[in-house]
Structures are given as C-alpha cells and as structure tokens.
C-alpha cells in the first residue's frame, strides 16, 4: 500500500505540484488502481517474452535527408518568441536541491 509520502515522491517524479492537502485523495486512487493489477500475480509468466508492440515491425528507417520542419513563424503560439525564433524558458541549471 502506498502512503501519502510515496504519493508525494511520485508526484515530484512526474512533475505535478500536488499540494499536501490533496495527497490523501491521490493516495487512495493510486492504491485502488494498483490493486487492480494484483490479479497478474495469478499468472505464471516465467519464460514469457514481454510484448511492447503488436505487429512486429522493427527498425523503420528512412534516408537521412533534411526535410523542412514546421515554420513556427506562421502559427499563433504565445509561448514562442518570434523575434528570437525560440521558446524562452526559465532557468534550468543551478540553484536546485
């Protein structure tokens, strides 16, 4: 069973600022959901290969040639700075934990 402290760690991992007051609600939901997976323990899967994809295509490649991407200058997007042609983001490096 997960505790509120586990939920807090998971929320930090997946980058969602869940406030302390809402942790119990999510802990309860997460425990209900994870409990549903318990039935998988009944199945013997020793030696069974995992399936990540159903139709078995592998290594789809194309010629390494440059193709035009999206022209962001044309689209309305308030987060894109058209003058410098880039997304401006907050500080990434330093000052962290």
């Amino acid at each position: 069973m997960l505790t509120d402290s586990d939920t807090k760690k998971i929320a930090a991992l997946i980058k969602i600022a869940i406030p302390e007051s809402e942790l119990p609600k999510y802990t309860s939901q997460l425990n209900t959901v994870l409990k549903a997976a318990d039935v998988l323990k009944e199945v013997d899967t020793s030696g069974v290969k995992p399936t990540a994809q159903t139709h078995g295509l592998e290594n789809i490649l194309r010629e390494d040639e440059v193709k035009p991407g999206l022209d962001m200058q044309k689209y309305p997007n308030k987060q894109f700075n058209k003058t410098i042609s880039a997304f401006e983001v907050k500080q990434v490096i330093g000052g962290g934990e």
């Binding site: 980058k15 600022a17 959901v33 994870l34 997976a37 998988l40 990540a52």
Partner: protein, 484 residues
C-alpha cells in the same frame, strides 16, 4: 432537411444530383447543432468558417462538373485529439484549451485532400482518459437516446453527434474501446482496423502501443469508405504498416464465408457470463442465433478471463500515458500557471498541476510508479508478459474460428455521474474491448437492438490482424439481412 441517420452515400448522391449544395447541408447541420447541442454537448469547438469554406470548394467542383470524392462535402465531426492546422485541438483538456494546431494529423490531412467538411471538434474524455466523456474539462456529452445517460467515451462527442443527426459521420480513436464503446451506447457502427493500419501521427497520444484511429457512422459502408481514405503507410508514424492500400468498401460482401468454407464464429463464454447485463446478453444471443440460422457455425470458445486484460491494460496504458503526457508541460505550448517559479522544473510542476485534470494526474502518477526502478518488473514488465499470453490465446482460438463475437459493452449506457469515485470506471466498462485492443486486432461494434429502457445494445466482432474485410463483411451481413 431531415438529418437523422444520414449516410455518406446518400449525401454524396444528393450533392451530385444537386438536391442541395454542400453549403446548404453544412448550414443545415449548424442549424441543428444550434438547436440541440447546448443540451447534448457533442462539440467542444465549432469550425463554421472553415466548414463553409470547405463546402464552397466542393460546390464549385460540382458546378464545374468535376468528379468529387464520396466524402467531399459530407459534414463530419472530428474528435478533438486530431490536429487540424490553425484550429484549436484541446484533447478535451484545460491544459490545451488554447492550443492551436500548427500542422494536420495524417487522418485530418487525408480527409481534407478528399474535401472533407468538419463541422467542429468533438468532445472527448480529457486526453481520451475514460469511457464516458465525464472526464472532459468541457463537460459531459449526453446520450441522444436518453439525456440522463452518458454517450460513452472517449469518442463520445463524435458518437453523440452522429446519433443525434449533428454530423453524417465521426472520426474517433480508440485505445481500449473508445470507438466501439460509444458506438454501442449510441446505436452506431464503430470500426477500428488493425493497430498500425491508420497513422497515429498528429493524434494527441494516449497509449502509443494501443492507440488507433477509427470511424463512427450510421452504417458499415461509411466505416469502410472513410477507412479506405485514411488507412495506409505514413512515413510520420514508424508503427504504420507497409501493406497494400485497402479497398474495404469495394470489397464489402454480405456473405458468411470462412477461410475453410462455412464461417466459424467464436463466442467466448467469458463474454456472456454473470458480469454482463442480462438484457445485453439476451439481445446478443438473439443476434448469434440469427447468424446461426443464416448459416454460420457458432463455436463456444474459452479465452483468458477479461479480468487479466483489465489489469494489463490498466498498467500498460497508464505507463504509456505517463510518458506521453510528460511532454505536456506548458513550456512550448499548453497552460501556463499565473504563479511563477524561479526554476523551469518547478514551473512545469505548477503548470501541470493546474492544467491536468484528476484523471490525467492519477494516470500519470500510476504509470510513473509502474515504470519506476524497483517496480518495473512487478508491474510494467509483468503486464507486457501477460499481454503476450493474451495475444497467444487469440492466435490459438483463431486457428479454429474465423472471427470472435460477443457484446461490446457489459451494460447499456449508464447514468450521468457514474464515474464519480471510481478511478477504474473506464477499465471496467471496457473489459470486453480491452483484450482485442491489447492484441491490436481489427474490430467493429454494430447495433443489435435496445434494452428494456430503449437504450442501444452493441455487438462486437473482431478477427486476426489484417482481417478487416471479414470483420466488416460480418457486420454488413447483419445490417443487410438480419437487423430488425
């Protein structure tokens, strides 16, 4: 103009015979939407300007005597997780409520090349997380058969639009039963081909190993017509299948032929047991009996219990959701919090807290947990292994039978509010569609009657990978020869 139960071929014939123009029928649909949709809530955003401009193009082509595509000028509902250049694509979420698509999804692109007319972007569970549209941040879509009931989901807006006569056909997508489910609950035909047949490019991703676009319509022909136009290899989707173009519509045949002569239909005993509503079992068994009388062989088959599919789907889908939604951070697009944080990761956490709804948060967290070091083997890998067993189980059964049939949903449409306090509503509601979705099999839901309260009941059929034609033909046989 009567817009109920319109089909693509009817509208196409009317257009080329000049009974009305594409602009006229488009305007008629908008009139109907203005009368009915405040109650039903099938659409998130209407695209009247674009629709009328598209219709005008079709009318000019007709006036010039040019040949037009079957879908040209036929008004449709596009699920709001399909990108459409320069229009809003919210995926039913506040996170993307102001997001304007900078490109077309492949499905959108291919339909537009055939002069499709999109009336608007249809409501859906936010990020397709649900089977009711109750998780939509834009309100639930009500069932046109009974406004106290949900339309189903996640493609509930597309389904309700078609069922209420607010669009001729609808584009949807399914990860478990998001096309088949709302089709069943709204009395429609809902078709999704083999995983990889239709490109996922430009469809807001949910579970990438499961997602597949599909069609909701008033008949089988429409499902085939639209699928033929949107299916096929796409260089933008590396899981797209390099098979020859499909010709489902031309090859539609109302006959019950199997690979070894008589058509053998497998009926899983786990699909009609005590977990399924009696009215649903009764109607489906009546349809099964009709198929038998018409010459099909009915074979009781024993499949892995759907409870395993619920568990596998819960883990795999949520794991993929946590990965796919990680890109939705409010940095390049999406909701930005009014609170500001000094560091980018803290800003992302605030944006995501405010922009994502309960379901997206819960699914992201469960998925992140299932993928995390120490729990990966017990949850994600285990689920992937059981997924292999589910696929092998189908392979075994398909050696004996041509197609598998059964109810689409365990109940008819439930009352509004059904999902409150049930974090697994979608998974449980989709218990009969999850097994085939996990195996990526082509499937259809078709209407076989109503329950004692007049709510539609759907029957599903699915076959081995690439058996789309057989699946469509079975539903076509029912529609042409057995439907009441």
């Amino acid at each position: 103009m009567d817009l109920t139960k319109k089909t693509i071929q009817q509208v196409h014939q009317d257009l080329i015979k000049k009974k009305y123009t594409a602009v006229e029928i488009t305007e008629a649909y908008f009139e109907e939407i203005s009368q009915k949709d405040s109650e039903i809530n099938a659409f998130i955003n209407l695209t009247k300007t674009e629709a009328l401009a598209q219709a005008e193009v079709v009318d000019q082509k007709i006036a010039r005597g040019e040949q037009i595509s079957l879908i040209a000028g036929v008004p449709a509902a596009l699920k709001d997780n399909f990108n459409w250049l320069s229009t809003k694509t919210t995926a039913g979420s506040n996170m993307l409520k102001d997001y304007v698509s900078p490109y077309n999804a492949t499905v959108t692109e291919r339909l537009l090349q055939h002069d499709a007319v999109f009336l608007g972007k249809a409501n859906m569970d936010a990020f397709a997380h649900g089977s009711s549209t109750e998780t939509s941040d834009f309100g639930v879509t009500k069932n046109p058969y009974n406004l106290d009931r949900v339309a189903g989901g996640s493609s509930g807006g597309s389904a309700a639009a078609v069922a209420a006569g607010l669009a001729t056909y609808g584009i949807g997508s399914e990860t478990a039963g998001s096309v088949r489910g709302p089709a069943a609950w709204c009395g429609l035909y809902g078709f999704a081909p083999t995983y990889g047949r239709i490109s996922r490019y430009g469809v807001v991703a949910m579970g990438s190993s499961l997602d597949r676009p599909g069609v909701l319509a008033n008949n089988v022909e429409d499902c085939a017509i639209v699928t033929d136009l949107i299916a096929g290899l796409d260089e933008h989707d590396a899981t797209s299948i390099p098979e020859a173009p499909t010709n489902y519509f031309e090859n539609l045949t109302a006959e019950l032929k199997g690979k070894n002569g008589k058509l053998r239909l497998g009926l899983p005993k786990q699909f009609i047991d005590e977990r399924i509503q009696p009215d649903t079992v009764k109607k489906v068994m009546e349809a099964v009996e009709k198929f038998k009388v018409a010459g099909a062989e009915i074979v009781e088959v024993d499949l892995l219990d759907p409870k395993f599919s619920i568990a596998v789907y819960t883990i795999i889908c949520r794991s993929e959701v946590s990965s796919n939604l990680a890109r939705i951070d409010g940095i390049r697009y999406g909701h930005v919090s009014a609170q500001t944080a000094a560091q980018v990761l803290d800003q992302i956490s605030l944006n995501r807290y405010e922009g994502l709804g309960n379901e997206a948060k819960q699914r992201s967290m469960t998925g992140a947990y299932a993928l995390s070091a120490g729990y990966y083997d017990a949850y994600y890998k285990k689920a992937q292994q059981v997924r292999t067993l589910i696929i092998e189980d189908f392979n075994r059964v398909f050696q004996d039978v041509d197609l598998i049939i059964g109810p689409t949903m365990p109940t008819t449409a439930p009352k509004l509010g059904v999902t409150a306090n049930d974090p697994l509503f979608g998974e449980t509601a989709d218990m009969l569609t999850e097994p085939s979705a996990l195996a990526g099999l082509p499937c259809i839901s078709f209407p076989v009657g109503v329950d004692s309260e007049g709510l539609p009941i759907g029957m599903q059929a699915f076959g081995p990978q690439f058996a789309e034609q057989s699946v469509l033909n079975l539903a076509y046989f029912y529609q042409q020869n057995l439907a009441e």
